[in-house]
């Protein structure tokens, strides 16, 4: 039961942290609960589909389908997060100044929210499908009976969700003046971290070279198999032994999104 709880917790943790950030980053945009809820629901349904189709996905692309699938959905999430940050660099100040007199574009912020719902769905889908496969394995191996497994899974899930909620609640305590700068910064790191993870899958699939690997080794300090390592991996794509290619992806995405934000801010200022 405890082992089940721990594994489920580890899987849920990453998704919960991402949902926590997205929930905070969309503060003040009407109907965000519905969109985030829809993202979670879509992710859960997707988890079952991906887990069910795990074998079919694995066999695509000469047995590298799983890696390419993971890299692709991470890539989609990176693009969505980039879009969010650029949007926020135009509307963030307005949102921070007064939540009640926001412009029509924000009030009908459906585009912005649908973009982030995709990010939520992707996060839930990635971790959820692994959880489903793990629980399926425990269930059919018959080594433990159903009740302790279900309890363990519920404890793990509750623990993961609680951590995500604490992150969300903690972020909300940041004063409004800096709030959207803070969430945009977190989203920037999140996007870069996801790009680095996508790079890792492309290297694993032998599509990209690793380039100098590892560049450094901090596994003695924070190992990727520790809970702190998992949390950092979810938040900023932390890898204790990163390859050069992962660092290149990370840096490129940071620079590209920051440039996009600066461009959008300039454009908004000149049109105002």
């Amino acid at each position: 039961m405890f082992a089940t709880a721990l594994i489920v917790f580890r899987e849920v943790l990453e998704a919960a942290l991402i949902v926590g950030i997205v929930a905070a980053a969309t503060r003040g945009i009407p109907a965000r609960e519905r969109w985030i809820g829809a993202g979670i629901a879509a992710g859960l349904v997707g988890s079952l589909l991906v887990a069910g189709g795990a074998e079919a996905i694995s066999q695509l692309a000469q047995g590298m389908g799983q890696e390419l699938f993971n890299a692709s959905i991470l890539g989609i999430a990176v693009v969505m997060l980039a879009w969010h940050n650029i949007w926020m660099s135009i509307h963030g100040r307005e949102l921070a100044q007064n939540a009640r007199s926001v412009s029509d574009e924000i009030r009908s912020g459906a585009k912005e929210l649908s973009v982030l719902a995709v990010v939520v769905a992707v996060a839930v889908l990635r971790e959820g499908s692994e959880t489903v496969l793990f629980l399926y394995g425990v269930a059919v191996s018959g080594n433990s009976s159903a009740a302790p497994m279900a309890i363990g899974a519920a404890i793990g899930l509750a623990g993961g969700v609680a951590v995500g909620w604490f992150l969300f609640a903690g972020l909300l305590r940041i004063p409004l003046k800096w709030f959207f700068s803070a969430t945009s910064f977190l989203v920037l790191l999140l996007a870069a971290g996801m790009a680095a993870q996508a790079a890792r899958f492309l290297i694993q699939a032998d599509v990209l070279p690793a380039l100098a690997s590892p560049v450094w080794d901090t596994s003695a300090l924070v190992s990727n198999s520790s809970l702190a390592g998992k949390a950092l991996q979810g938040l900023v794509g932390y890898d204790a032994q990163p390859s050069g290619m992962q660092l290149a992806f990370f840096t490129t995405v940071i620079v590209a999104i920051a440039a996009g934000m600066a461009w959008a801010r300039r454009r908004a200022a000149s049109s105002a």
């Binding site: 692309a61 799983q66 394995g137 425990v138 059919v140 694993q204 699939a205 690997s213 890898d239 032994q241």
Partner: protein
């Protein structure tokens, strides 16, 4: 959706053709790896052909090898390893961590 995915990924997959890596067979059975000590040449990319004979899925995971791959029950998967510096690299089957563990030794 599978066909769509396959089409979208085709250009990438063509790059996945690589020739001439040494191949090593690894079997997962009874939630254990055999061999659980895999010797590979250092400084060279190696192809692990992993066959999961169990009916349950397993996740081959190694932080030091930077690999994370689900191997569905009763199926075969390919995992590229390295090129590695000489040393030992632990790996686990994340879904059955207690019994499924091993080490890649690069010499």
């Amino acid at each position: 959706m599978n066909r769509l995915l396959a089409t979208a990924l085709l250009p990438l997959s063509l790059a996945a053709f690589a020739a001439g890596e040494p191949e090593i067979n690894v079997v997962i059975e009874g939630h254990k790896f055999a061999p659980d000590r895999i010797e590979v040449p250092a400084g060279q990319k190696v192809k692990l052909l992993v066959e999961n004979k169990d009916s349950t899925p397993e996740e081959f995971e190694s932080a030091s090898l930077r690999i994370e791959k689900v191997i569905p029950g009763k199926s075969k998967s390919t995992i590229y390893v390295g090129p590695l510096k000489a040393g030992e690299y632990k790996f686990i089957g994340e879904f059955n961590e207690k019994t499924a563990n091993g080490v890649v030794v690069a010499k």
